[in-house]
Symmetry: C2
Subunit: 253 residues, 2 copies
């Protein structure tokens, strides 16, 4: 059974490498030896449980994290005291990049379900990127991509109504699951309705009513946390505001 344990660790290790690979470097085609150097600094994923924190707002920034399995939410307090959920992070996604600037975490990261998370000490990653140009580029891209995603979210919160927001949210999950080889139309929500509402800037009740309405309209099937998207094209049309007489917003000069 010692053998068993070794195999198990190796399995985690390989899985972790794969995860790091796809998140950090797959598109770049790093040399094999560089991949190994990268993999060496990645701390293997230990299993975390619902409610565990990866880090808390105010803590010193040391590492970024890559979700291997499971899901994580990040959230920050607003001045008033209530909190805003900033994102839900699925397998393959990276957490903590916003803390590089001040070396202090500006948000907290909490595990939503039993999850495996890789930790990458940022200082060591930074050293590595100094000698591997393609990895450096990859990190720039990663950071830039995060900005682009936030931009999408600004558009969502600034210009879209409740049903457009929820449709966009569902499609986002769908696409991200699909990218990781999972079903794009059949999945479980690891977050509560309340958390969805908080994230989308809506009240719980509104989220609930929309789920009901979407189901009535044959767009999806909802059974508690289990979601089946039945009409992806229709949902995509919804995001673009196909429903409702569109209030045409005048353009600024």
């Amino acid at each position: 059974m010692s053998q068993q344990k070794v195999i198990s660790l190796e399995t985690i290790r390989v899985a972790c490498k794969n995860c790091t690979l796809s998140s950090l470097c797959l598109p770049m085609g790093l040399a094999q030896e560089d991949v190994e150097r990268l993999d060496d600094i990645v701390k293997r994923a230990r299993p975390l449980h619902r409610g565990d924190f990866l880090f808390r707002e105010g803590e010193r920034f040391r590492s970024i994290y890559v979700v291997k399995t499971g899901s994580v939410k990040t959230f920050a307090p607003s001045p008033e005291g209530n909190e805003q959920i900033l994102g839900f992070h699925l397998p393959g996604e990276i957490i903590g990049l916003d803390a590089i600037d001040k070396s202090i975490h500006a948000c907290s990261a909490k595990v939503l379900e039993t999850s495996a998370i890789c930790e990458i000490p940022f200082a060591r990653l930074e050293e590595l990127t100094a000698s591997i140009a393609s990895l450096q580029h990859q990190i720039y891209r990663l950071l830039s991509k995060e900005i682009g995603q936030d931009t999408q979210m600004l558009l969502l919160l600034g210009k879209k109504n409740a049903e457009e927001r929820l449709a966009a949210f569902l499609l986002s999950l769908s696409q991200r699951f699909h990218k990781r080889g999972l079903s794009p139309s059949d999945f479980y929500l690891s977050m509560s309705r309340h958390e969805i509402g908080n994230y989308l800037g809506l009240a719980v009740e509104t989220v609930s009513r929309l789920f009901t309405r979407f189901q009535e309209d044959g767009l999806m099937d909802v059974d508690r946390k289990h979601i089946q998207l039945l009409d992806l094209p229709a949902l995509e049309a919804l995001v673009c505001g196909s429903a409702h007489y569109r209030r045409q917003q005048r353009q600024p000069g």
Copy 2:
């Protein structure tokens, strides 16, 4: 007058260096020779005029831009066709970081008033960062900071009401002007009411009414584009929702 011209160019050059310095490296304390290497790749600022584009959505990404004087807005089209203003960029601020990921600009950048803008070819900057560790770190910080700012904006759009948004907007401008040595309480708005509304997710009329109300309440003085903030502490309190019976939002688990 040939002499005059040389002096003028040199003035721009030095100013440009200063601008690059404070934006990219001041906090790091680069070696003098590294500063010069950085400065060498910065294209000197030519004057741009209201309505000029730095780049348009869909164009190939080549350079990032640093505002020296004046102001710039960035905006992206939503699927419906109307556009969302993503940010207003004041002196010392950097534009274009979101395009690194795809090497394509996802938003457009339009000059709001006569402005001087430095251009930094990103490929050359990237080469440079590979050999100057502190510059690499600085770029990471810059990108990370941008993420943090977007996060702030998500909080604004997700959780704050109209008057909190406008107060936050005014204070943001105030702080950014102050950081550049300008008055934090007396400045001109280079953007229209309509653009402010678009940015904050509000209707023009709402913005206008709030300006009136803030003025009535003695918080500020508004004369067309000329703004004077008379009670900064009160505005700060407003951002935190001090006014109005605060609808206490329940927290998700």
